[in-house]
Symmetry: D2
Subunit: 320 residues, 4 copies
Amino acid sequence: MRTIGVLTSGGDAPGMNAAIRAVVRTGLNKGLKVMGIQRGYNGIINGEIFEMDSSSVSDIIHRGGTILRTARSEEFRTEEGRKKAYNVLKVFGIEGLVVIGGDGSFTGAMKLANEFGVKVVGIPGTIDNDLAYTDYTIGFDTAVNTVLDAINKLRDTSTSHERVSVVEVMGRHCGDIALYAGLAGGAESIIIPEQPFDFDELCRNIIQSKARGKMHNLIVLAEGVGGAEELARRIEEITGIEARATKLGHIQRGGSPTAFDRILASKMGARAVELLLEGKSKRAVGIKDGKIIDVDIEEALSMKKESDSYMYELSKIISM
Amino acid sequence: MRTIGVLTSGGDAPGMNAAIRAVVRTGLNKGLKVMGIQRGYNGIINGEIFEMDSSSVSDIIHRGGTILRTARSEEFRTEEGRKKAYNVLKVFGIEGLVVIGGDGSFTGAMKLANEFGVKVVGIPGTIDNDLAYTDYTIGFDTAVNTVLDAINKLRDTSTSHERVSVVEVMGRHCGDIALYAGLAGGAESIIIPEQPFDFDELCRNIIQSKARGKMHNLIVLAEGVGGAEELARRIEEITGIEARATKLGHIQRGGSPTAFDRILASKMGARAVELLLEGKSKRAVGIKDGKIIDVDIEEALSMKKESDSYMYELSKIISM
Amino acid sequence: MRTIGVLTSGGDAPGMNAAIRAVVRTGLNKGLKVMGIQRGYNGIINGEIFEMDSSSVSDIIHRGGTILRTARSEEFRTEEGRKKAYNVLKVFGIEGLVVIGGDGSFTGAMKLANEFGVKVVGIPGTIDNDLAYTDYTIGFDTAVNTVLDAINKLRDTSTSHERVSVVEVMGRHCGDIALYAGLAGGAESIIIPEQPFDFDELCRNIIQSKARGKMHNLIVLAEGVGGAEELARRIEEITGIEARATKLGHIQRGGSPTAFDRILASKMGARAVELLLEGKSKRAVGIKDGKIIDVDIEEALSMKKESDSYMYELSKIISM
Amino acid sequence: MRTIGVLTSGGDAPGMNAAIRAVVRTGLNKGLKVMGIQRGYNGIINGEIFEMDSSSVSDIIHRGGTILRTARSEEFRTEEGRKKAYNVLKVFGIEGLVVIGGDGSFTGAMKLANEFGVKVVGIPGTIDNDLAYTDYTIGFDTAVNTVLDAINKLRDTSTSHERVSVVEVMGRHCGDIALYAGLAGGAESIIIPEQPFDFDELCRNIIQSKARGKMHNLIVLAEGVGGAEELARRIEEITGIEARATKLGHIQRGGSPTAFDRILASKMGARAVELLLEGKSKRAVGIKDGKIIDVDIEEALSMKKESDSYMYELSKIISM
């Protein structure tokens, strides 16, 4: 293998730049030529490809977002689009491809490999932590800390007004952002898709905690479960205690990555290049039990993520 | 004057604690007895009043919110409620009252003074900067920096996706948070109640800036003008460029106050006590041209806030 | 077991409060009486012991430092001191003791157990990450992120001046803070006690990187290796390139804990109480391969920490 | 005037990039050609000059440091050096020069104007706030908030250990950083060059405040007064209370600028260009009583900065 390409695809996540940097510099260190591909799979199709040297990834490890841009590609979902992409990769001499993104991006990589024999390695870059084969995805730790910072601010104002505060965070199918930020933020209640939700119990807890003198009550809600506005309205109606909703939105995707995400991304980026050099393909890099691992990308996509029910139970006990 | 009271009322603002601290310690330093009143005017009516010593305001200067809690009081809006409040103040021997809050809180103070001769001084504590007699209110600088931090995060993700990003910030009648944060955040457009808004011009700018190669387009919108969701939808419809909305919400009210807000609050708190000691009443403390001032509270309430149109024009020039 | 005590000892670390909170609330949840002991082992000897209820640990999960205070105790190092401590524990009915701290604190706990049969469990609270039996100690992740934030600031000014910047971080025997923050911060060189240091190679790298157009050169140095001032002076002398030193000092011990540290502390605190309830003693709680574990405290103290040489090598490759 | 140049010189300060951006975009908006000069006055002499367009200042308003780099120039201090600089400016057609920096940079600008008739305008960019003609310099507000953040962290650990904490901040002749950060940080004592310092009084305060139950004692010291290490040692010797020193160093120069600094820099940058267009020269832009002003640059340099003794007295009263 002499030339590899790297792209970011799908929703961006803090730490993607650290991963790109590691891919580029490890590749160069091993004697490879490294091509940066802009705007995800669209960038292959459109030939938005340029050679990267060491300085092209200088001063990016601490920046959020992705210098390669990202996009979702309709064209690439068609076989025709992928055929075109394959031809462009061949023209540019790209033999191995590192794809940084979530499950949709991995599916695209898998198809490139299955249909055209392109050697691909996936790196999990998504704030949602919704890939089952890896304990953590790049960007998750940063997103959780961003939510924590918002919770700290909400705590100030909720305490002053002695209100219930409902915070809606990202996570359509996977409640990990809500679970981790809720536990770390001392939230009184955490509502996630993976756990049953009992509205009456929630209201009982709010009323009791007010009675015990708690100055505020914080509820963290994963977006997959429903709207914060509606929940706050219902809580106020039933409990008679003022409730306010905040939907954190896209700020969760941005910001300078935490140390954890930068280190994870650096290790994963380096490992992805090594895998290509070892002649491997269709691998997804992950972290399991503190160790960098790699699994078959199809297997990775088929695994079902399980929520950490211990953390959920723990949060009930220690946020009482 | 031997005994004064202090309360916070209306929406909370970062720096209120620094103001409380300054009131208490200046009062004690001048030989006064200082009573803390909880939950705004309700706290007077309900007798939630306790003596404060120096240590009761230890380690609060850096905390958001207000240790005295805050509330809006329906009862105090009635003459009967205020009569009750006056009686409670008398019973506790409170001869002077420092009220930290916004225009609603000032109106309450004014009525106590007019109807019962209570000596009152107002300190402007509100993130909105919507009081005309003062250049800055306590909490405004912190709120602007909180919005800036959010804008930084949104810039990361908007740039990665090359999207338009619409951010809705607080400010019902006064667009200052949007104006200051927009100028400081390098927003391409700022939409505030005080300035005419031309949707077609906005779309032209977005299209042109995309054509010139700008990777993202940031629009800061004061809540008084309308909803961010709706605006983003219309922009996407007309320009064909992806647009996303974020409503920052209550996080703007929280957080550790900036140096500016803590210093402003400290000076204003000390000045409020001095005014009471000088026998003044019905004064609102402010800052004008860098100097701590005080004006008649009725006059303060009647003044019409003017927006800084120079800053608005400047932002158009330097965000091009 | 009906009554347990909890104390923090040695240098403080962000997340200690989250651990205390988890110990108290898990204890209460299991029907135990939980006593807080102030100022470490001194607090036992002096009887600075008070019963904790659920609200005594409200609103502390996000605060740095330790609400129980901490101290190093000379008296407790003597057998007489420990005898006194044991008597006090008996008088207060404390049958199990949770000690949050570093190796010195664990040694004290071990002696209490060995000499008097007190049931003890240790929780690793120290920013240095210098305990071999656990992958992470509480406070380490926060300290690394604090250093990262400082590195970001130094990068700005070093780049503007095109200087070499030497940052000295904590870590007397263990270079983990330097290693993790160096890798995450994109430091050009990391100097830690566990790795050989070649001054000439360092100077060659600095000169070469300047020649390749790098605008700044960042060196992270663990305090155990030597002084930053002296190193900066020698670099400037040999390379002729301006070099500046910064010793970060005690700010590394403070700050609101990260999500990682709060969650780790919550899990460890809960586990410590469970161990006491299971009748275990002389255990040190840790995290290994992502799982909460516990090991014999003497064994924990005798293990030799090994540095992650992969991360060290990786940093050389990707910071080139 | 058709072509202007802009440079940054001396120590860098957060907000310099916002000033450069405003100079460039205001210049372009008025039909001027704007040349960026790298590495201060050295850059003129060496011809490190390039034309700037609007996109060359994109995405810099939030970045610390200066994209134009900065340096101190020995050569420019000689008449020969300045003659050379003048010739280069002529060759590049640069008729007006905007200099962003401190008093040394202003002196250089003044000489260029006096000796060769170059039209110059100075913008005060220095964290020290040591220029008497302006209430604030660019970077000062950011530096004060950076110090505040450090003080918050030190408060955590000092409180846990019940120690005295001495923090040394920047400010050789001007104690403003110490004064503002000390007042805003709730420091028990502030030691600055402009105020007499009584060591015995300091020790009395420390002992008394310990006796009154204060958990920590924070002393902020301007570097111009002396070393923190030495002071901490003496305090510990005399009071018997543990004392620790922290010298914050170069992190005070870095970091993303605050809203205040970005807005100040934007206004000053725009005003500097307007002054050149009005045919003015030898002006220093400043802010006085909340308004952007300009004064003769020689006059600016000759004015003696006065410290705000009211803030100093206020801090004594409210930090008791």
